[in-house]
């Protein structure tokens, strides 16, 4: 049996396996960025990692702070602007993109803008960034979910998935044919979309998770694949790569801040006597 892993590590590894060799890959910051680095190191050495700020063909050496963080890699092959990164997506040159989920419905439509009323928000979220345009034109979109929620109806549709399901996305003629969310990867399992109805169903469970536990978080009657797969337990090699290179991603934001604050205060206290002298 391999060594114990964190849920973040499990998610990072599952996402990395969606990157295939020689693909053009658009990455968001955080978990997908780490997945990109892992994929490039272990599964897809010729993948072309892209950030929407116009950083093309890079390899992160330390965790990246944001989508324009070209200080976290040593060089990159092509420097272009944001406008061109999207027009290359529109023209069909992006194979796969990864988008984080705040709210998602059964047809893979996403809300990352607001909870409650747009004019009078209960919670304001960051907004679209690049998401709405990437999901419209990348050949595949993988949704990643660390702390988001499944809802019956979105407060606000930021990024269009399969709209009302069925052939509604295809019929509109406004999207790259065959594009749309292909998978949603959460800390519990992997979901896919029915080829006819475009409704999300559970296709794979992560180790130690039950179907009941997954259903608890989903407000509609979730369909489950008749041949439900099991996610492989992370391998030592995969865990080691993440923990050695991106340890803050292994523990996640909350625990990272807890540890960082504690050790900052400890160092500050240790320095005090010297300062007072």
């Amino acid at each position: 049996m391999s060594k114990p892993y964190t849920l973040n590590e499990l998610l990072i590894i599952a996402i990395a396996k969606e990157i295939h060799d020689h693909e053009n890959v658009v990455l968001g910051v955080g978990i997908p960025m780490t997945s990109g680095a892992l994929a490039k190191a272990l599964f897809a050495p010729h993948s072309n990692l892209i950030m929407e700020s116009g950083i093309i063909d890079f390899k992160p050496t330390v965790p990246m702070n944001h989508v324009a963080d070209c200080m976290s890699c040593r060089g990159f092959s092509y420097s272009t602007d944001l406008f061109s990164t999207f027009t290359m997506t529109y023209r069909g040159f992006v194979d796969v993109c990864f988008l984080g989920v705040a709210q998602v419905d059964k047809y893979g439509n996403l809300n990352t803008t607001v909870i409650g009323d747009y004019e009078n928000p209960t919670i304001r979220l960051p907004g679209s960034g690049g998401a709405a345009d990437f999901i419209s034109y990348a050949k595949r979109t993988i949704l990643t979910m660390r702390s988001g929620e499944f809802v019956e109806k979105l407060s606000y549709v930021t990024s269009p998935g399969y709209l009302d399901g069925g052939d509604s996305r295809e019929k509109s003629g406004h999207f790259t044919p065959g594009s749309g969310p292909t998978k949603l990867i959460s800390t519990q399992g992997i979901f896919e979309f029915d080829p006819e109805t475009k409704e999300m169903f559970l296709s794979q469970l992560h180790p130690g998770v039950t179907v009941e536990a997954v259903k608890k978080k989903i407000p509609w009657d979730l369909k489950v694949s008749p041949d439900l797969k099991q996610t492989e337990r992370p391998k030592d090699e995969e865990i080691d790569f993440i923990r050695n290179n991106f340890p803050t991603e292994s523990v996640g934001k909350n625990l990272m801040w807890e540890i960082a604050t504690a050790s900052f205060l400890k160092r500050l206290n240790a320095a005090k006597p010297t300062i007072e002298k």
Partner: protein, 348 residues
């Protein structure tokens, strides 16, 4: 501007001359290397009623909000919204109805600037947006947020955004000459479009360099001198954010600002201590060093990783060869003048 084209001045003079109450202001930098020093100066001069355009929603935006400089926001991403209990200034202001907002995607925002920089009145954007509330929900721009036409060539639905031409752009770059030729490298984002679309441009830079440095590396120049209104030499001008080739993010500085902005009182105290209490950026950096020492700043200084030099050279830079003969006609100047005389092409 003085007659010799030297546009160097202090941040105080640059902001006083170019940012007016009620202006539409745009942050030139996208996510990386934010023009914090110029933001601080705008706050220090207590500018009011600004419409602010910012794509990356960095904490500088939150600061302008906390200081009461902005009434309206055109954005694609409010970085700190939805975090730590929804307590950052922009989210607080939205909940209290004190801020008007217009949401676009990153591409649409950049498209508005591309139209603006090239002098067009609109730019087509990607039509998938028809199925998003970004299209259906209109803020202060109303019907003019988007328009839809039928493409005269393909007959397809074509979604348009109007050109954006802000009154003034603030931008921090690595280096510039005193005339305003501004050199920037790293993540290009919408940086150049934001600057060139604007009516006035204030450039702050880590260092002023000789004009010779600029002309031997013109591919790094993203804003030409003739478009620039003011150049401010401001080392650490992006602190607490980063500048490629100069320094990384200062997480202690960022944390201090972030923690301050979480409450209205905290924000006021932060502004009093770090902005109103410091007459300029230099004083702000000295205040930082006084509190935290220089260890942090030393630890985030960039190590060199130079771009390979590009050879802009050519075989010669005069038409006269080593024998003083013109390279195309093969004659000396003296011989040429003799021939011109003989051929009757010279006039008295």
């Amino acid at each position: 501007m003085v007659e010799n084209g030297d546009k160097q001045m202090s941040a105080q003079d640059a902001v006083a001359a170019n940012v007016r109450d009620g202006d539409m202001l745009i942050m030139g930098n996208y996510t990386i290397g934010i023009a914090f020093g110029l933001v601080y100066e705008i706050v220090r001069q207590r500018k009011k009623g600004l419409t602010f355009c910012s794509q990356s929603g960095c904490i500088g935006d939150e600061l302008l909000m906390a200081a009461g400089c902005i009434d309206r926001l055109i954005t694609t991403f409010v970085l700190n919204a939805g975090t730590v209990g929804g307590n950052f200034p922009i989210e607080r202001a939205l909940k209290q109805g004190k801020l008007q907002i217009e949401d676009y995607t990153n591409f649409q925002y950049n498209a508005r600037l591309v139209a603006g920089m090239h002098g067009y009145s609109f730019m087509p954007v990607l039509e998938g947006i028809l199925h998003s509330d970004i299209f259906t929900k209109r803020g202060f721009m109303g019907d003019d947020k988007f328009r839809v036409i039928t493409c005269p060539f393909t007959g397809k639905d074509t979604v348009l955004v109007p050109a954006l031409n802000p009154d003034v752009c603030i931008i921090h770059v690595q280096r510039a000459d005193k005339y305003g030729n501004a050199q920037y490298w790293g993540a290009m984002g919408s940086v150049q479009a934001a600057a060139l679309a604007s009516k006035r441009i204030i450039v702050s830079c880590e260092e002023i360099v000789e004009h010779d440095v600029i002309i031997s590396s013109p591919h790094f120049t993203i804003i030409p001198a003739y478009r620039v209104n003011a150049v401010v030499e401001m080392p650490w001008g992006a602190h607490p954010s980063e500048v490629v080739g100069y320094y990384n993010v200062d997480k202690v500085g960022q944390g201090t600002l972030g923690a301050g902005l979480l409450t209205e009182e905290g924000g006021k105290a932060w502004l009093d201590e770090w902005i109103y209490g410091c007459p300029d950026h230099n004083a702000y950096m000295n205040h930082y060093i006084g509190l935290f020492g220089s260890g942090m700043l030393n630890s985030i200084k960039a190590r060199a990783y130079y771009s390979a030099p590009a050879n802009y050279g050519s075989a010669f830079s005069t038409v006269w060869d080593e024998q003083k003969r013109e390279r195309t006609m093969g004659v000396t100047l003296e011989e040429l003048e003799q021939i011109m005389k003989e051929k009757g092409v010279l006039y008295e």
